[in-house]
Each structure stands twice: as C-alpha cells, then as structure tokens.
C-alpha cells in the first residue's frame, strides 16, 4: 500500500512538470502591455517614440524631483533652497548643493543619474524595437521609420549631453542591457560620441515645425551643437568657437525650421513664458504641456510656489515654498528692467481675485499678510543672521518667470479667465540663448572683447526688457559689454533656465567666487561625483578626480 502511494505520488509529481501544467502557470496580463505585443501600428510606434519626452519632464525641468535641473542651478549664485522654519531642512541636501559639499553617495545626485539614464534607456528601447521590426508590421513608411530613429538618436544624444554636463566621465551605452557593466569613458570621448551622433542624424531628423512641437528636431540638434561647442574648451580642453558660431548661425538663419514660421526672437520678454508660449517664435525645443486636454501640466510649481501661492495668481496650484532667489540677485536688475518686475515676485501679496485683500501667510506669519522680502533671515525674531539655515516662509524673492495663468477672473472681470491655464511649455532651448552663445563665442575669439556683432546680438535680446525711453541709456557698447558683464547679463536673462552652473564654470567663477552663504571650493567640484551607489553596482565606473 505504502509503496503504491509513493508510486502515485511520483507519477503525480511528474504530471506537475508537464507542459500543460506550466501553461497553466503562464501569466496573462489583463491591464498591462508587454513589449512583444506592441509596435503593431503607427499610433503604438508614436506612443513609444514620445515616451522619453514625458519622462524628460522629470529630469530636465524643475519638476520637484532630483534630476538635472537642481544640481545645475542650486550650486550656482542665483538660486537656493534655504531652510525656512520647520520646512526645507531636507537632510541638509540644499545646503550641500549651495556649499558644494555634496557626498559621493548623495541621494539626489544618484537620483539625477538614475532619472537621466532611465530616459536614455527609453530612447534605446524604441530605437532597438523599431530597428528590428519591418515597416509593414508597424504600419509606417521607411521614411517615417528613419525619421523616428534619427529623432530618438538625437534625443539620446541630448541625454548624454546633460549627463556629461553634470558628471563628465560617463559610460556610453546604445543597447538595452548590453554590456552588463559598461565602462566609464573620458569626457572628451563622450563629447565625440555626442557630436558624431548629432552630425550623423541631423539630416534624417525632421525640421522643427508646428507638428514637431515639444520634440527633438534639426533645430534642437543645432542647439545641442551650440551648447557642445560653447563649452568645448571646458569639456574637452579644445575651444570650438567657430563651430559654435556656425551652429548658432544655422538656427539664426532658420536652417533647423521654426515652431511658428521662421525662427526669430520674440518681440518681448513674455511670449516665451506665458501660457500660450507654444506660439513663441524663438522656442527651439520644449516640453509641451497641456492641462486642458491631457492633464499634462508643468511640474515646476512645487519647486517655487508658496503654500498659498494660488491666491496670488488666481489658479489652483501651490508648492513647497522651496527655491528662492539669493539675496542681492534682485538688485542686479535695473529698476526699469521689465524682467525684474515681470519675472520676479517681491513685496506684499494680494489676492488676484480682488487685487486688494491680503494673501495670508500660513507659517511664521500665520494669519498676517504674506510679504516676500529680498533677504533670508529670521525677521520675526529681529535676527540679522542670514544663511541657508535661517529662513522664514517669506524669505527671498520668488520665481515668476513662467506663468500658469488664472482660473478666476481678476477684479471686475479683468483679466478674464485664461483659457490656456496650466498649459505653458517649458523651454529647454530658445533662440535668445543661441544669440548669447554666438556673442560669447565672438568675444572669446576676440580675446574677451566684444565686437559690434556681439553687442548687436546681446542688445537685440536685452532691449526687449526696457521701454524705448529707458533703453537708450541701457544699451551695451563694445566698451561696456565685457565678459563679466556678459556673465551678469546671462544671469539676468536666463535665471531659472538651468544654465547658471555651466556659465559660472565657463567664466571661471564656479570654484573661485563667493556669493551670499557660499565660499570658494575645490576646482574638482566643477564635476559631480559618480554616485557611489552606481559604483557599488558597476565596478567599471571610475570616480571623478577629487572624490
């Protein structure tokens, strides 16, 4: 009996291994897609091609996450996230960015690495999948296939450009999962890879047009080249000023196309940042939000807005009362500079809806009017100590460059409700920046002195920020546009746009200058450390010098 039982058991155990049984254990995913069952029509292809763009929102914009933007701005001399009362200590991460005392295993930097390489992988994946499938099975033409792959390769180059910007020496991988432990490549090699990728694919990629809104295009590719060459001296040791000028001219001459007709500077300082900035003529590459139809909304309010910001602009979004303008930056703007009044927020705040009643604060000044001040200290306790630890809820001048629009009408119905509320795009590159780059290249070539072309380029941009009456005395001349002045003007024009760290490095100030609560640091701090977390996983990653 006993032995029979065992025989039956053994038989049954055999059955359990049979294919029928294994089939029974195959998973059926009802609410998720698998890769093998995808790429069967054009819409599926497009939705895979577009995936890295929604992801880029997380790392390239001030999204509330530790991506590229925070380390690119908060280590500079314009913006900081000071501790404000009970808020903002955040493990000291903001202070370390400000003081340049970040660790090798800084969580935020690892997160940035991770988010950016994730985005890179989201390019590799469709490049691979499109590449191995024939066009008939995907329902697209060969031209479309080539164009998508070129676009994705350019977008991948963009990821590498920004990774190289932060970390310098990084691994370059073009296939998912291969090699298992990629090696660090020196920055010059990475530079070369990016440059080659751009040059090889630029012609196959679509030109910028209304249908390429929010996506990589020939225009975006030229802008990447401008950025590469502008920083080539720092990044590779070899200056490429002429290449920089040539790439900039391609954009200035509309060779990469334009989002709204011929690419040109916008006539004012607001078209680029308002809720309908998809109509801007100067935008080159942006993350295209649309809350009205897609619930895809800008991510930056969490970084900049006060807990009760919505009352100030008449919308529905607030923030973490985080990033503010470092004391003194506000006053580098001329009082008549429209950028100061339009892009920055200071002073007592009133409700948008009536323009009169005060917006009430909610922390130190709970129940009293919210007044943003150009200092960071504990005014409530009459303290004069100003540093990264001693802020209050109203400390610092605030971001007001991009606008969310208003959901409620202003006093007496003016302005009316903005139908494009929460729809504004985030510009990654815009033509003004190309103008500045070309001007700088001209000056650098010229031993640091401006020539008439350089002055003209900067003045074309700057004069939009002044009334005609004020402009006459504010225009640059070849005498007044020094390199130092160019750096200052870059600060005023591109504040919040993610370029400040690069600028300070290129102008030799990043490790040598002091500002507010920051003292000079070692030159090696110009590169962030390769996150120790990544090095623990991949022994082939070398650490940057100085860490």
């Amino acid at each position: 009996m006993k032995s029979k039982l065992f025989i039956y058991t053994a038989l049954a155990a055999g059955l359990l291994n049979s294919t029928a049984c294994k089939k029974q254990l195959e998973e059926k995913a009802y609410s998720q897609l698998t890769t093998d069952a995808f790429y069967n029509n054009k819409n599926e292809v497009v939705s895979a091609v577009l995936r890295p763009y929604t992801h880029a929102n997380a790392w390239v914009t001030p999204s509330g996450q530790d991506g590229w933007w925070r380390p690119a701005e908060l280590s500079g001399d314009q913006l900081a996230w000071p501790t404000k009362g009970r808020h903002g200590e955040d493990g000291g991460k903001w202070k370390r960015l400000h003081y340049h005392t970040w660790f090798n295993d800084e969580g935020g930097l690892n997160n940035a690495w991770s988010l950016m390489y994730w985005g890179m992988g989201l390019c590799n994946d469709p490049i691979e999948n499109l590449g191995k499938r024939d066009i008939a099975s995907m329902g697209i033409t060969q031209a479309e296939k080539d164009s998508y792959i070129a676009e994705l390769k350019l977008l991948r180059a963009f990821h590498y450009l920004k990774l190289m910007d932060l970390f310098g020496n990084i691994p370059v991988v073009t296939q998912v999962g291969i090699p298992a432990k990629p090696e660090t490549r020196p920055r010059a090699e990475v530079f070369k890879f990016i440059e080659t990728e751009i040059k090889d694919n630029i012609a196959k990629a679509p030109k910028l047009s209304r249908t390429q809104l929010g996506r990589m295009s020939q225009a975006g590719a030229y802008a990447m080249l401008v950025e590469l060459y502008l920083n080539a001296e720092v990044w590779t040791g070899t200056a490429r000023w002429d290449d920089c000028i040539a790439a900039a001219d391609q954009l200035i001459n509309n060779a990469g196309g334009g989002q709204n007709g011929v690419m040109a500077l916008d006539p004012n300082i607001t078209d680029q940042f308002k809720t309908t900035n998809d109509l801007s003529k100067e935008v080159i590459f942006s993350i295209a939000y649309n809350y009205s139809v897609a619930n895809f909304q800008p991510s930056w309010p969490s970084e900049f807005y006060h807990f009760k910001q919505q009352e100030i602009y008449g919308g529905g979004r607030n923030g973490n009362d985080g990033i503010v303008v470092i004391p003194g930056v506000y006053t580098t703007y001329d009082a008549s500079d429209l950028r100061r009044s339009n892009w920055l927020l200071i002073g007592p705040q009133v409700k948008f809806s009536d323009g009169v009643s005060p917006v009430l604060a909610s922390e130190e000044y709970n129940g009293s009017q919210l007044v943003f001040v150009d200092n960071i200290r504990k005014n409530k306790s009459n303290s004069t100590v100003s540093n990264m630890s001693e802020g209050e809820e109203n400390s610092g001048v605030r971001f007001n460059k991009y606008k969310l629009g208003n959901q409620v009408p202003g006093p007496g119905g003016v302005p009316a409700i903005d139908p494009n509320y929460n729809n504004g795009d985030w510009n990654i590159y815009r033509l003004t920046w190309i103008y500045f780059a070309k001007a700088e290249a001209l000056m650098r070539k010229n031993g640091g002195a401006a020539n008439a072309t350089a002055v003209q380029l900067i003045n074309d941009c700057k004069k939009r920020a002044f009334s005609d009456a004020d402009w006459a005395t504010r225009a640059y001349t070849t005498a007044t546009l020094t390199l130092d002045e160019l750096l200052a003007e870059r600060g005023r024009e591109f504040i919040f746009e993610g370029f400040r760290r690069d600028d300070l490095i290129r102008f030799g100030k990043f490790n040598t200058a002091s500002w507010w609560d920051h003292s000079p640091t070692a030159a090696t701090r110009a590169l962030y450390p390769i996150p120790q977390q990544q090095r623990d996983l991949n022994g082939n990653l070398a650490q940057n010098p100085g860490y």
Binding site: K2, A13, Q24, H87, P182, N366
Partner: protein, 988 residues
C-alpha cells in the same frame, strides 16, 4: 466536542445497540453523573461495564441507563477533562457518580490542527499553539485575530489603527520574514487557505491553531513563510438540539491623548512672548469635536445546532454594530454561517458543506484627521463669525468634513466549501475539497458643493465631488487528498497523506470620479452629470489581475509505541507569479519527537506527568509579491502631444525583466520541549527557533546603464532570526470552591539580522526604512546595514544646544559641532551618524490570571513589550516652536531650549517598553433549576485599563512593531481608548 469524542460517542452508541440486542441475559443499571465540585450534571459521559462490551453515554441531564451482563460488577466512567473512575455496580439504582475534573488541560486528549488534518497534541512534532474560546480576549473583537493577541508566544499582533472598527491588525510570527513581500501568516479557515477574516465572528470560532515553525508550515509551501494560522469554526454535534445566544454591548472612552496646549494656555504663551503667533480670539478643542461620545457597539449572535449520528448541523446568525471613538467611523454587519455534515454508505462516505456570508457597511469617512486637529492654533474656530464653516488652504476643517462628506463601503464576502471523505479500504480515506470565496464591495463618496474639498478645487470650484469604485474577487481552491492510517503490530502507527492543490485567484476593480455638479441631488448615483467628464478632468480607472498556484504535497507520520515520533513533509509548488525559469519550488520538512514520559527512566519520577522533546526542520516559501512582477511590461508614461496636436498616452518599459524571479525561501529549525508536572498542575512548552530567509525579494538598484529602469525586482538577500518562546500554565490553587490558574507566555528574540543584501550582480550595502515624515524631509529613521541587526535607528547624536537654541550634535570623534558640520553620508568611513536605538522589541510577555469562586470567575490579562525604542515623532514635530499651530505642553518644559528647525537624532529616541493591563473580566454563571436553560453567563470586561511605560508619545501598544520598519510613532494616531463591555451568554 472534538472529533475524537464524536468517535467515542458513536462507538458507545454502537455498543449500546449491541447490548440492547442481547438484553435477555442482562440486568439494568441506571444512574446520574455529576461534577464533584459544582454538582453540575455531565452530559456525554461514557459509562461502560468493565470486561464487557456494554456501555452508554449520559444524556443532557447526566443520566444514563444501560443493560449489562449479569456478571458485570464494575462500571468504568470516563469523560473528557475528568479523571476516569471505576464504580461498583450495586443493587441500588440509580447509581450516583461524581467525577473530579482534571487539574490541568494538558491531560485532556487535546487535538490540534496541523493542516490537512488533526493530531493529538501529545504526538505533535512541530511548534503549534492552540487557543480555544476559554482563553480568548473578551473585549469584543473587531477582527478575529484580536481574540488571541498576546496569547501565543512568538505571535505579535498589533493594532496600528488602534480601536478603529475599520482598521486591521498587523500580524507577524517570530519576526520579519521579508523586506518587500508579505510578512503576515497564512490564514486557513476550515481548511481553506487565504481565508477571509471578515467571515469570522468570535462566537463561531471553535479554536485557533498557530503553526509557528517552518517544519509545521511546510505543508503549505510557497505561501507559508510567515507561519500559518488555522481557524476552526464550530460545527453541529450529535446530540440534542442546542441554542446559544451571546451578545455584548461596549462603550469606549478616550484614554489618552497627546498633551497639547488649551486655548487659554496658548493665549498665555502668546502674551508672554513664548509663542510668536496670532490670537484669533476663539477657544476650540478641535479633537473634542471629532469624538463620538455616544458610541455604543453591540454584537448579537444566535446559533442553533444539533444532529444525529448521521447528520449534524449548525446555523449561526450574527449582527454586529461597531462604533468607533471617532464620529462617522463605524461598521455594521450581518453574518450567516451554515454548516452541515452527513454520513452515508454505511458511514463510509462523509459529506461536509459550509456556507458563510458577511454583509457589511462601513462608514469610512471619520477616524482620521487627528494630527491636523491636534495641532491647529486653538484660538481658531471651526466656524466663521457668520456661522459658516471656516476653511483655509493649508489645513482641512475635519469637523466640517464629517458633516459635508460621505464615504462608505458596502461589502459582501461569501465563502462556500464542500468536502467529501470516503473510506476506500481499511485505513485509506480519499477526500475531495473545493471552495470558492467571493469578495465584493462598492465604495461611494460624495462631497457637497459647499464642502471645503469642493470649494478649494480650482478646476471646478464648488462643483461637488462624487466617486464610485467597485471590487470583485474570486478565490477558487480545489484539493483532492488521500490519507492512509493504520497501526501495525500494535506498535507502529502510520499516517500517510498525499494531495494535489489547485488555487486560482482573480480580481477586477474599477472606479470613477467626477466634479462639477449643478446641485447636490445626485450625489454619487449619477456620476456622468458632472461637467469634469466632458473636459477630461474626471478620473476613470480599471484593473484586472489573476494568479494560479498548483501543488503536490505529501506527509508521512510515524510513531512507535506512542514514544518515538517521526514526520516528513514535502510540497512541490508552482506559481504563475514566478519567473519563466523558476516556475516550481520544492518545500521539504522533517520532524522528530520523543515522548520521554513514556520511558521508564522518566516514569519513575512521579512528579513528571508528561515530557516530550521535539525538533524539526522545514523550508517554506513566500510568494506574497505582485502579480506580473517577472514580466517586461510597458506602462503608460503620461500623455504627450501627437503630430496633429492631440495628446495620447505614451508607453515605455516599466520594469527590467527578471525571468529568474522566484519565491523567498525560509529555512527554519525548531527545538521544543513540552511538559506537564506536579499532577499536571504545571504545564509548559518551550521552543527555540533559528531561521534564515534566503533569496529575499526586493527592488534592487540595477546598474544604469545598461538597464532602463533603476530597479529590478529580484531575489538576493538573506535575513536571519533566532529566539526563544515560553508558555506556561499553572494551576496555583484548586481547592473546593476556589480555583486560580495562571498562564504566562514569554518571547525573547536572540537575534534579528540582515545577513546579506548583495550577490555577484547586485550590491546593497545598506537599506533604509521607516519614513519619519513631517516637514523638512527628515528621511528614514532606520538604516539596516548588510550584516547588521534589523531595526536599528541610525541618526545624529544629540550634544546639546548653543545658547541661542541651535542644535549641536556629536561628530564621529565625539566632538559637539553645529548641524552644518555633521556628515550624514551613509559611508561608514566618514559618517557622523551612529546607531542610536533599535525598534524591534527584544521580548514580549503576557500573563493571565484566572480566578474562580463558586459561580464567579475573574480574569486579569496583562501583556507587554520590552526592549524596543520608539522615535517620538509627535515631540519632534510639535514640541518645537517653529511650528505655527498648537504645541505640546512639553515644548515649554523638556523641549524649551530648541530654537531651530526639525532634526532627527537620539534626542527623540525613547524606550518603548510597556506593560498593559489589557483586560479584566468578571463573570457570573447563573444556575437555574430548570432543564430549559442550560447556562446563563453574565460578564463585564474592562479593556486597556492601565499602561505602564516611560514612553511619552502616543500609546506605545499601537505603534507598529512588525516588519523591518517599525518603531516610528504616528503623529496622527487613532486615539487610544479604554472600553467597558457587558456581555451575556445564554444556552438552552
């Protein structure tokens, strides 16, 4: 009556029948059997004529009548729980017999469930603890596991949501077994794995058996690493019909709340300049407005049961209305449980059927918002001067919310199971069991147009909010088994079991919400009427998942002369969740036992009544992770603009593939001793366990590049634990009218370690747990380094304050420095952070004292937790003047020096040990001289009567102690309550 008794009873009946047939040569004997102490009649007592086959059992009145051969001279009278007795047959009828109750319980033939069967406790070779209704906590369970909290050594049951009637319990056996997967034990109800606890009402529970060790749990394979809890419900019994009614009513009172300033005190502190905040002119106790002072919970259970030798039945109807200490926080439910058994084919076929359904309606609106209301500036009001509710953007008016919103869940859970046993040949029984559990609910929410949530929504201001969601789940279970049981040469007892198990589970959900209604009339009953839908701002979602488990299992039990015990178990199991390369797991176990008290060298020591040594080794698995975790799936990445300007969803890979994904393996060794001494007055069970969990599943950081995602769900690490468990029972006094019994349990954790978290591919040097929360992003409180103890708090070491109240901490060299100079890197070579405590309790203990005097009984139940630290987050956040609202009183005493932002350090780590007087019950058993009333018991219970602790935050009993992330106090903890309960049980 247990199964064994049933057999005895049937056997006796059989004897009786034989006896009747042979009536001619016989004489009649009749009499009555009563308890020697209480004088109560004893029903079901076996009365047999010694040396003959004649026998009978007593009826409900304790009377018996039997016909015995003329030669018979002695009656043997035996009854479960009583000492057997021989009585001479005299000529005098009736014979009155009194029986003495056994002094302890272990002397009973105690049967425990072992999974796919039962076994005499004395023969069990793995660590199993049985708890029966006599020992259940009597404070009125909200969840069936409440009944055994503190009763089983090694089983931690924590109510992290306090006495919230809609809150569950956090359960863990012998420490954490997983980092990311399930840690809770497998619940098996009447043989159905993954039983639904909602279906269990306390009056329906016959017993709860807890299988603690791996060798016992291995029969449940890949889902049993957390241990197994087997619940057996009451069944009908052969005998006269009985009716039981039991009920209780309970009232709860606020026991302890965090000590915040009153409005007057707050005002005084403003006046004195200690608080730089505004006085808004009101005086409000915000918490008081959330408290349901009129709470009254009640439970009514009516059951009737009975049966014949061939058929038994039991039906139980339960109504329960649980009301929380919070307003709008309750649960009403009805449960019906039906059970039938029948024997046919000359008793060779036995059929069982159970049908249970629970219908409940939970009010989920209230029960939260405590932190918000505790910490509001008390000079504010819930109302504006004009009488409308006061709303502001940075807080929620919780009181108004209770009036202006609704949130309910209507749920029905049904379980049907059937089983057929058939005796094929002698000793061989085949069984087929099948079950289906259907669980479904609908959630509904509505927020009035005038509610805060609605008014503060800027897309549809004042447009209301409606939500409806549903859930439907089926769990199918099919298990054929074969069992062979025989005794060879009177010495060799063998039981062999083989079985197949198929389980399939599927669930579907959908939900939708909308805003922008023109009036409040539809509420959530006409969702499409909201205007948010048309403009794409309504939300809709649905999901469906399933999984399958198949297994073959076998068990062999052998005992020699009831002295030497051996057991082997195997289970081979496959799960759809496992990766393609690892579809099947193998889970073996082996146990041995030695009943020393059957050996002569022990028998000569008369003070030892029973002594057993046992040991076991077993492997179990844990597959309590998400469905589809091994597949490469594409997930939506948000919508983006298409060339035509419209927006569509984008798709990209959401996970790195892992075809090797498999179960976690727990290997556990258990050595135990069970004993009874001094006339069975002292009984005990001592266990030592050592376990290792291998192939720990977690989200590991994958190298990027080349992988797309930063993480991969894979098996890497190893976790280990060892500990000791003690359970003792002592019949301290057993004299006449007075009895005093003591039960004690003690659990001691010898070690809890994360042995490794790396392999060749994945390397993790440390892992952090337990978010501190609150403003200032303080990160996680617990850091577990590879190779170190689990549960360690790692943080800054407090070194004092500067004269102006700024934090000073010790750096790694022991020098007090300002915060800005503290290195908080996790790199052990540079960090200034240090180990500042451990959140995992070293020990648990409980003590039950039961007194009985005549018809009175009294019970004290104490339980405690020792040797753990708790991070006092309420003090961290609200004993610091940087907070603009209400402050703890200690802000101005113990914490008065702080003039700085929030910091996490050992300054807020406190000893979390406590002892709680959990329950005191006083009962009285009425005696009526009528045969219509079998028993009437009235009792009162006080629960959570006193807590002794040095901890200064919330009630430490409700702070989670399970998992790898315990020990962080909850700023918004459900208030601790003290309750009083009056209960009545009537049987007739």
């Amino acid at each position: 009556m247990k199964f064994k008794d049933l057999l005895k009873f049937s056997f006796s009946l059989l004897l009786l029948m034989c006896a009747t047939m042979a009536q001619a040569q016989n004489k009649q004997v009749s009499g009555k059997v009563t308890d020697s102490k209480t004088g109560e009649s004893l029903a079901g007592v076996t009365v047999a004529a010694k040396g003959t086959t004649a026998g009978a059992t007593t009826d409900v009145n304790g009377s018996f009548r039997l016909s015995v051969p003329a030669s018979a001279t002695t009656l043997t009278v035996s009854y479960l729980g009583y000492d057997s007795k021989d009585v001479a047959i005299t000529g005098n009828n009736p014979i009155n017999i009194t029986l003495d109750a056994n002094s302890t319980t272990l002397n009973e033939v105690k049967v425990v469930s072992i999974g796919y069967g039962t076994q005499d406790q004395s023969k069990v070779t793995s660590a199993i603890t049985r708890v029966t209704p006599d020992d259940f906590r009597q404070s009125g369970s909200r969840n069936a596991l409440d009944l055994i909290q503190g009763k089983v050594a090694g089983l931690a049951i924590t109510r992290t949501s306090g006495t919230n009637p809609n809150g569950g319990v956090s359960v863990q056996l012998r420490g954490a077994v997983s980092v990311s997967s399930a840690n809770s034990p497998l619940i098996v109800i009447d043989g159905i794995p993954n039983g639904n606890l909602d279906l269990l009402q306390q009056d329906d529970v016959e017993s709860i058996d807890v299988i603690k060790d791996g060798s016992g749990a291995a029969i449940y394979g890949s889902i049993a690493s957390g241990g197994v809890i087997l619940v057996t419900t009451k069944k009908g019994k052969n005998g006269p019909p009985t009716v039981n009614y039991s009920s209780y009513a309970r009232k709860e009172y606020l026991n302890q709340r965090l000590k915040f300033l009153s409005a007057d005190e707050y005002r005084q502190r403003i006046a004195s300049g200690e608080i730089k905040q505004k006085d808004f002119g009101n005086s409000t106790d915000f918490i008081d407005q959330l408290i349901n002072k009129d709470n009254l919970s009640q439970n009514h259970n009516l059951s009737f049961s009975g049966g014949t030798e061939k058929t038994t039945y039991r039906a139980s109807l339960n109504y329960r209305d649980l009301q929380g200490i919070a307003k709008e926080n309750g649960r009403k439910e009805y449960t019906i449980r039906l059970n039938m058994t029948q024997k046919s084919l000359n008793d060779r076929l036995r059929l069982y059927a159970d049908l249970t359904t629970n219908i409940n309606r939970a009010n989920l609106l209230g029960g939260g918002g405590w932190e918000s209301e505790l910490t509001k500036n008390p000079t504010l009001s819930n109302y504006n001067p004009d009488g409308s509710y006061r709303f502001d953007l940075t807080s929620t008016n919780e009181f108004a919310r209770l009036q202006q919103e609704t949130y309910y869940r209507k749920q029905q859970t049904t379980s049907a199971n059937a089983k057929a046993d058939i005796d094929i040949v002698k000793g061989l029984t085949g069984s087929v069991a099948g079950s289906v559990i259907r669980d479904s609910y609908i959630d509904g929410q509505y927020r009035l147009k005038a509610s805060e949530n609605s008014l503060e929504n800027t897309d549809f201001p004042g447009g209301g909010y409606a939500y409806k969601g549903d859930y439907l789940r089926f769990d199918y279970n099919f298990e054929p088994t074969l069992q062979y049981k025989n005794t060879f040469f009177e010495k060799h007892n063998l039981t062999a079991l083989a079985g197949y198990s198929y389980r399939y589970s599927i669930f579907e959900t959908s939900s939708a919400s909308n805003r922008g209604f023109i009036n409040d009339l539809f509420r959530e009953d006409n969702l499409a009427q909201g205007s948010a839908l048309a403009v794409g701002k309504a939300s809709i979602s649905s999901n469906k998942e399933d999984n399958t488990l198949v297994a073959l299992f076998g068990r062999l039990q052998y005992s020699y002369q009831g002295k030497y015990l051996l057991q082997g178990t195997v289970r081979r199991e496959g799960s759809s969740r496992f990766g393609a390369a690892n579809k099947f797991g193998f889970f073996p176990a082996v146990n041995a036992g030695w009943v020393l008290s059957e050996e002569d060298f022990i028998k000569k020591h008369k003070f030892i009544n029973f002594l057993k040594l046992r040991g076991g080794y077993g492997e179990t698995g844990n597959s309590g992770f998400a469905n589809y975790a091994s597949l490469v799936t594409l997930g939506g990445g948000g919508r983006y603009i298409y060339p035509d300007g419209s927006y569509f969803e984008t798709y990209g890979p959401t996970r790195n593939p892992n075809p090797n994904l498999k179960w976690e393996v727990k290997k556990e060794t258990d050595i135990g001793v069970e004993f009874a001494m001094f006339d069975n007055r002292l009984t005990g069970q001592i266990d030592y366990y050592k376990r290792t969990v291998k192939d720990l599943l977690d989200t590991y950081v994958s190298p990027q590049p080349p992988f797309i995602q930063s993480s991969i769900y894979t098996n890497v690490g190893t976790l280990s634990a060892s500990g000791l468990e003690f359970a003792f029972g002592y019949a301290a006094i057993n004299s006449g009218d007075f009895r005093w019994n003591v039960d004690a349990t003690f659990t001691y954790a010898l070690s809890n370690k994360l042995d490794s978290y790396s392999n060749d591919e994945y390397k993790v040097l440390y892992k952090t747990f337990a978010g501190i929360g609150g403003a200032g992003d303080l990160g996680n409180a617990i850091t577990t380094y590879e190779g170190a103890n689990t549960g360690e708090f790692w943080g800054k070491r407090f070194a004092g304050f500067t004269p102006d109240g700024k934090w000073l901490f010790y750096n790694r060299n022991g020098v007090a420095v300002p915060n800005s100079q503290i290195n908080i890197s996790k790199d052990a070579n540079t960090t200034d952070l240090a180990k500042i405590g451990n959140a995992i309790p070293k020990a648990y203990a409980s003590l039950t004292n039961k007194f009985a005097y005549k018809s009175f009984d009294l019970r004290f139940f104490l339980r405690g937790r020792f040797g753990n630290d708790i991070l006092n987050t309420p003090a961290l956040s609200y004993a610091n003047r940087t907070w603009s609202g209400n402050l703890l009183k200690s802000t101005f005493t113990k914490y008065s020096q702080i003039n700085d932002t929030y910091q996490y350090s050992d300054y807020y780590i406190e000893n979390g040990s406590f002892v709680k007087l959990d329950e005191v019950t006083l009962g009285y058993n009425f005696k009526f001289k009528t045969k219509y009333l079998r028993n009437v018991r009235l009792y009162v219970t006080g629960q959570n009567l006193a807590t002794i602790t040095k901890y200064t935050g919330t009630d430490p009993d409700y702070i989670r102690d399970t998992g790898l992330d315990p020990g962080v106090d909850n700023r918004s903890a459900y208030p601790s309550t003290r309750s009083f309960l009056v209960g009545l049980n009537v049987g007739f």
